[in-house]
């Protein structure tokens, strides 16, 4: 078996670690105030939207990486 799959696994792992860092750095300190009881809900909803955007970006990056790492294999 070629090194490609191990490389792809390793890159995915690095992306998870980096993604975690971005998530903690961006979402951690993020909070909305001034809306009373709705503060927590609005903060959660906005955090969810940002996290979903980050996941979509993560999948796009991974998809590009997959095509780059396996460009020879995925010629179908």
């Amino acid at each position: 078996m070629k090194i490609g799959l191990f490389g792809f696994l390793f890159v995915m792992w690095i992306l998870i670690l980096a993604g975690g860092g971005i998530l903690v750095a961006i979402l951690g300190p993020f909070s909305i105030s001034g809306y009373g009881d709705l503060d927590l809900l609005l903060t959660s909803v906005l955090k969810a939207i940002i996290a979903i955007i980050l996941v979509v970006v993560w999948i796009l990056v991974l998809s590009k990486l997959k095509n780059w790492i396996f460009k020879k294999e995925i010629k179908y």
């Binding site: 799959l5 191990f6 696994l9 998870i16 670690l17 903690v24 969810a48 020879k72 010629k75 179908y76």
Partner: protein
């Protein structure tokens, strides 16, 4: 710590031997009822019985009941109920051909005991960077996690022994990670998954005497996902599962939709004259982990299985490194 040793040993013995002794009569029962499918990767006409889910769920329920006798905590109930619902979902799919959306949607129901029993923590912990509190998003993650882990293990159940062998490596890696994080109670609660998989592997390894079926694969995956949530090791669990996640990712990114394997017309893999597995050039077939492994040339079923196990061991090591990194915050 010492008081945890007896429950750990007893539950592991119960998990292993329940599956070890229940599977042979289950094989006989399924043979009598002619519940068998053709093993597509064998040269001769070999029929293999399925599903092995009943023996897997018996091992899980028996061992977790033993543990519940020692520790009356909701986490064990969540594992048992979620795994059982996943088993029922899988069993329905084993007996009746359901649509591609059935399993993911039905497995959402399986995740509800985790929420109702309050066995989750909305803080998501990352290695090196600490935790982030995401109450609303975490609920979505709980609902999302069980269908993902269940279907991910199901999607890797393509060759003799792969699903159970992969689960042995991933679940023991997760248990080691829980020990490293000093979450001893959850580590012990997670151990039966590895022992159930180990006992089932005896009958599932090449040449298979029984296939786990959807009921077996979904049960293993759902239990794994539940342990990840109630043990607060979601990221480590995802890392240990990476080869299976890659398989699902490759499949979905090539097919661009959720589709059952039986609905796909193109074949990703074919057989050589000496019945080795070989990647095809079929553009309509999905890209899968097995297809990428075979891109270098034809391999026997056993060799492909071992290649997947090597990837699983590599991910398991990364998961254990991740557990050590969890204890370090920059």
């Amino acid at each position: 710590m010492a008081e945890l040793i007896i429950p750990a040993i007893v539950s592991c013995i119960v998990a292993f031997f329940t599956v070890y002794f229940v599977t042979p009569p289950l094989i006989q029962f399924l043979q009598k009822r002619n519940l068998a499918v053709k093993d597509m990767n064998k040269k001769d006409h070999v029929m293999v019985v399925r599903p092995g889910g009943p023996s897997i769920i018996a091992g899980i329920i028996a061992s977790e009941l033993v543990l519940y006798g020692f520790f009356q905590i909701n986490e064990i109930l969540a594992i048992m109920i979620t795994s059982f619902i996943a088993f029922v979902v899988g069993y329905v799919d084993d007996r009746k051909v359901m649509g591609g959306w059935f399993k993911p949607v039905a497995l959402v129901i399986a995740s509800t005991p985790i929420i109702f029993l309050g066995t989750y923590d909305s803080n998501l912990a990352f290695p090196l960077f600490g935790t982030v509190q995401i109450p609303a998003l975490y609920l979505g993650l709980v609902i999302f996690m069980i269908p993902v882990t269940g279907n991910t293990i199901n999607s890797i159940d393509v060759l003799n022994g792969v699903a159970s062998g992969f689960m042995i490596i991933a679940s023991f890696s997760l248990s080691i990670a829980l020990f490293i994080l000093q979450n001893y109670e959850m580590a012990i609660i997670s151990l039966p998954l590895g022992f159930v998989s180990l006992a089932f592997y005896k009958y599932h390894k090449i040449p298979s005497k029984i296939f786990p079926g959807d009921s077996g694969a979904l049960t293993l995956g759902a239990m794994y996902g539940t342990i990840a949530i109630v043990g607060h090791v979601e990221i480590i669990a995802a890392v240990a599962l990476l080869p299976a996640i890659i398989n699902s990712f490759l499949f979905l990114s090539s097919m661009k939709r959720i589709v059952e394997h039986r609905q796909i017309k193109g074949k990703p893999v074919e057989h050589t004259e000496d019945f080795k597995l070989k990647a095809t050039n079929d553009k309509t077939a999905p890209v899968t982990l097995v297809r990428l492994i075979l891109a270098g040339g034809p391999l026997s079923e056993k060799q492909v299985g071992y290649a997947i196990f090597k990837l699983a061991i590599f991910s398991g090591i990364l998961a254990i490194i991740t557990a050590f990194m969890m204890r370090v915050v920059i």
